[in-house]
Homo-oligomer: 333 residues x 2
């Protein structure tokens, strides 16, 4: 069907709403002519999808993005929101040491939403999924007061054991892979009404998780792993608690990127705080046994020590970090 | 931790909100002390869950329920909403001929929502999941303007091929299993301000899908199957279109339950319309080869014939049914 076939009399294609086009036709437009990976045994269009789980197990996680809480449609395009929603979930799959295979998307939005916006959102979901070798295999579309994008990602462990938060041991090295602080710096820029530097603003709009680094860390023998969604210190506190250990970071091990240093200076903010507490970049942080060579692109930033029941779980240069420890939800609603 | 430990000074347990308790503590309370089925290899608490997929494939589907669109918290308890959300998804798994193994739940709700409501919602999800042998393995909780419950269900085909919508062949028998029209009748009652008959109102609040009938139909050789979420005629139209056949129903094959006849008479409505067009009971409808014995509890209601390109895809007593053909979304937003 040509797009014009579903444009009502007098309406321009760009402004046709979900209500005018109808749920089923929008789903048709979102799902037609997409190329599924080999793991998609049955794609969208039936009651359920069927996905390959070659080693007899499937990794699964869900993440919800709400308009006004996690994204703003005046700051991000629908395509960027789609990429971000897919990335947040696939990073959780990578953090188990698994490879993403597929996404399912539950989407609620006002019925006045232009159908074109939903196609762009789907384009973003597909682009990000494809970049990690995954496909969008199913979902649901319904009306609601604001846009809510709930993504479930599935993945394959390829025969390996999952890397849990609870496996860190005293003596392990702590290492990170991927960007830290870029999204938080971009948010600080946007929050002050600026639209540049583009690199930072785009980093907030669309994270770039190092998907392949998760399976690589698992193969190298990582003892624990988590993706940095709430902030490095906050997420390492989850690891420390689950593993009953203490994590000791060294601030000198972190290199502040020039872009972040510049904009920190311009805004009068310490850029290290973005690296340590900024969320939503979806870097990976893992622990490795002391005698293990780190995989490519992983940088050592600290060590694991025995838990000190009286002391803090995560320290920077021997002290609790004096700043916000991560992203707290429920600011708006 | 005892519940009183997280009750702020002066607040009663029932009224403590999500904002006061905090996302992580609510998740703790929702996930602690639940009994997972054997298929849950790793439950909630890490970046992702790990679920068994014994035959190397996983069935997956997502369904979204929005407050004010799919449920009202003055008509249903949170526990009933949880059951309904789980049921709608697990019925989609059963409609492939698969057995549900696990659920993931993306939940957005106002931060003023009492934490107790979220526990009750989780109780409902768990109760329904357990009734089908599945477990709640993961999810996400965040704030939003109304309650949005996005559930993903996973399932196992136990080595069988999935039963698609596209497999119906001329000569097949059409059969249904499970309740038809009960939810629609219950909604009609509620919409007129009544709270009884309880059987009907509860049928709207919590469907009772015949989960085991899906795998049984697959094992018996069903050629196509779908769950009745939008209404029997609307859902059979999906089967007819996907299979390129016509579906001919016989109204005399349907037995109108006494409860529906009574309330139809009281409201001046034809109860057969509820059976044919009412959604949300999540009965299963399938087609079987002519020489196949129907499994227990399946009732024959029509036959599959070659498609008539000029004629309607689904008829009742040889004619298109003169009534609403199912549930259309986007009424409110």
């Amino acid at each position: 069907m040509s797009p014009s076939a579903i444009t009502p009399e007098g309406g321009s294609e760009a402004s046709v709403s979900l209500r005018e086009v109808g749920e089923f036709r929008v789903i048709d437009r979102i799902t037609t002519d997409r190329v599924q990976p080999d793991t998609t045994l049955l794609g969208p269009g039936d009651d359920s999808a069927v996905v390959a789980a070659p080693d007899g197990r499937v990794v699964a996680c869900t993440d919800v993005l709400v308009e006004g809480v996690h994204f703003r449609l005046d700051w991000s395009t629908p395509e960027q929101v789609g990429r971000k929603a897919a990335a947040a979930n696939m990073a959780d799959v990578a953090a188990m040491g698994a490879v993403p295979t597929s996404l399912l998307v539950g989407l609620a939005c006002p019925s006045e939403t232009p159908a074109k916006q939903l196609e762009e959102l789907a384009d973003g979901l597909w682009a990000e999924a494809s970049s990690a070798g995954a496909g969008l295999v199913g979902g649901d579309l319904t009306s609601g007061p604001v846009m809510v994008v709930s993504v479930t990602a599935l993945g394959s462990l390829q025969g390996r054991e999952p890397v849990l938060r609870s496996g860190a041991r005293p003596g392990d090295r702590v290492a990170v892979c991927g960007r830290l602080g870029w999204s938080a710096a971009g948010l600080a820029v946007l929050g002050r009404g600026f639209r540049s530097p583009a690199e930072l603003v785009n980093a907030h709009r669309v994270p770039v998780p190092p998907y392949a680094a998760g399976p690589a860390a698992a193969a190298a023998g990582a003892t624990s792993m988590i993706d940095v969604s709430d902030g490095l210190l906050a997420d390492l506190a989850h690891v420390a608690r689950a593993s009953a250990v203490a994590v000791r970071l060294r601030s000198r091990a972190f290199t502040v990127p020039a872009r972040l240093a510049e904009i920190g200076s311009a805004l009068g903010l310490d850029p290290l705080r973005w690296l340590l507490t900024g969320g939503e970049d979806h870097a990976l942080v893992a622990t490795f046994p002391p005698d293990t060579a780190l995989p490519a692109d992983w940088a050592e930033v600290g060590t694991v020590e025995p838990a000190d029941s009286a002391g803090p779980e995560v320290t920077v240069d021997g002290r609790p970090y004096d700043g916000d420890a991560g992203w707290i939800h429920f600011a708006k609603y």
